[in-house]
Amino acid sequence: MSWKSPENILYTKTDEWILIDEQTATIGITDYAQDQLSDIVYVELPTIGDNFKAKDIFATVESVKAAADVNMPVDGLITEVNNSIEDEPELINSDPYEQAWFVKIDISNQEQTKNLMNATEYIEYCKSRSS
């Protein structure tokens, strides 16, 4: 099995990705995560202005067989949500890193980005779980 995992972003152990642009960031779930869930039929997103700590559940995704919580990689304030994935949750399966981002945030704690994995580390981590 191989999963896409772009080099320019960071990853969590709970299969979220985060693209950091100075004080702000974009967050979604990884190719590995969408593959494990299979056809995603529903996503529930937070509202703009919600504040979360790292590891807090900020969204939920459901396939017909499973439901998964989506966790914050770092502390942050929600500044934008991607409503298009609510209408077309299948985008999360087809394009998890571009069209199917979940939220944009203002990062509250830059230090926490040091705890995240890079693409190489994340690929290894995925392989270790699927063997």
């Binding site: 529903y42 459901e62 396939s63 017909v64 067989k65 499973a66 439901a67």
Partner: protein
């Protein structure tokens, strides 16, 4: 009596295949000192003997086919068209289980889908699930849904004191560990205006019953605005037969409509099994617990039905599920679906009218009796409250012993301010003669 097919020869072959000498050896892992306890149970009976014994027990009850029944209070004696029982007894309905495998469960699934459709139509709501255990647990599930809708951020629940007392008890039991504040029982005489003053932006849900426990049809228009102004959800508990005639709660702004489905073709059977119906707005569907059937197609393009939105449920979400419910009231849903199909739009309306007219005839007569007065000063459906001069237990004893009538519900245990008040219910099963005998008896006691 036994239903086991094994012959001695079968047992012998089967034990050999298992490499075991005796059946008892199959249980060698059970702690020996407790293995094969000597159960002190009555001796086994043949089918004939147990039927005779049950016949005797059953006949020692006073049943409503012999005693005109004026008792309602959440369960009602209605006519049930014969075909329903015949259809329920079909083995394909009776002995199927949860439709986990849709290819061989389309009968159950389509029946549940049609039930959802008819409950939506009846309540005026967009979606309905395929039932909870009963009206009381449906109401408790409405609270859980509202709390989930607000993601636990709103913690106040307002329950009108004229909600069925047993429903309120179930609500109190269910919510005890949930960190909620349930208001409404501090003052059992509170009216809706008093309740509205309790609303605030921490209120998740406002629950009202209409017709309420004392029989009155509530004026919900005003309440609706107050509830929605605070962003809270409005839950209306209702009697489904009343909806044959009355405006459905969906039309006056309810967010959740629940109630007891027993009047829809289900025998009273001393309190169960019944079904709790549950309907809501499409936008809340993913927060609704309970089994839900959706339409889809199969590989060949043929229409079919499946259980849907199951990731909300306990077998996937486990400790994060919105509720622990994992069944519905299956066969009772089938009964109600066949009932509503048979009654149809005109039958249900006619039935509701019969109940309405009989209750109003009785109310007018009882109001003329010295010492009795009907206290409902708003419209009512098939049930109303009478203030009496004597204790209700005394009246009911005399009604039963001297007139062969099952009297009304004694309200004073649940509502101390309603000492000597009786709740009377009327359905199509009571003839004008039955009602006249009640009036005559009340006048004479």
């Amino acid at each position: 009596m036994s239903y086991i097919p094994h012959t001695d020869a079968d047992r012998k072959t089967m034990l050999e295949a298992c490499n075991t000498k005796s059946i008892a050896d199959l249980f060698s892992m059970i702690p020996e000192q407790h293995r094969f306890p000597d159960l002190d149970l009555p001796s086994p009976l043949s089918e004939l003997e147990i039927l005779q014994e049950l016949q005797e027990l059953s006949e020692s009850n006073a049943n409503t086919t012999h005693y005109p029944c004026f008792l309602g209070a959440g369960a009602y004696y209605h006519f049930i068209p014969s075909l329903i029982n015949h259809m329920l007894l079909r083995g394909e309905n009776l002995t199927a289980y949860t439709p986990y495998q849709p290819e061989i469960s389309q009968g159950t699934l389509q029946t549940m889908f049609e039930f959802q459709s008819m409950i939506s139509a009846l309540t005026g709501m967009e979606v309905a699930n395929s039932s909870h255990y009963d009206g009381a647990t449906s109401t408790a599930e409405a609270i859980i849904m509202a709390v989930n809708h607000f993601r636990g951020k709103r913690t106040k629940i307002i329950v009108s004191p004229t909600v069925h007392p047993q429903y309120r008890q179930v609500i109190n039991t269910y919510t005890k560990g949930m960190g909620l504040t349930v208001l409404g029982e501090e003052n059992l005489q509170a009216d809706t205006d008093d309740l509205i003053t309790q609303l605030d932006d921490n209120t998740a849900i406002f629950i009202i019953q209409s017709p309420n426990f004392l029989g009155t049809v509530e004026d919900i228009e005003g309440i609706k605005n107050a509830v929605h102004d605070m962003g809270a959800l409005l839950c209306v508990i209702t009697n489904p037969i009343s909806l044959g005639l009355f405006k459905p709660p969906g039309e006056y702004g309810a967010d959740i409509v629940v109630g007891e489905g027993q009047p829809l073709g289900i025998p009273m059977s001393y309190g169960g099994p019944y079904l709790g119906f549950f309907a809501t707005r499409q936008k809340y569907v993913r927060k609704m617990s309970g089994r839900l059937v959706g339409e889809t197609v199969d590989k060949r393009g043929k229409r079919g039905y499946v259980l849907t939105l199951t990731p909300r449920e306990q077998h996937i979400r486990r400790d994060k599920a919105s509720s622990n419910i994992c069944t519905n009231q299956g066969l009772m849903v089938t009964a109600a679906t066949i009932y509503l199909s048979t009654m149809g739009k005109n039958g249900l309306k006619h039935l509701a009218e019969l109940c309405y007219h009989k209750a109003h005839y009785a109310a007018n007569k009882i109001n003329e009796l010295p010492g009795y007065s009907v206290i409902n000063n708003q419209p009512f459906f098939n049930e109303f409250t009478v203030s009496c001069e004597k204790p209700v237990t005394e009246l009911n004893k005399s009604l039963f012993d001297n007139y062969g009538l099952i009297g009304g519900y004694n309200l004073e245990n649940d509502y101390p301010h309603l000492e000597n008040h009786m709740l009377l219910a009327f359905t199509e099963m009571l003839s004008v003669d039955d009602i006249d005998s009640l009036v005559e008896a009340l006048g004479a006691i």
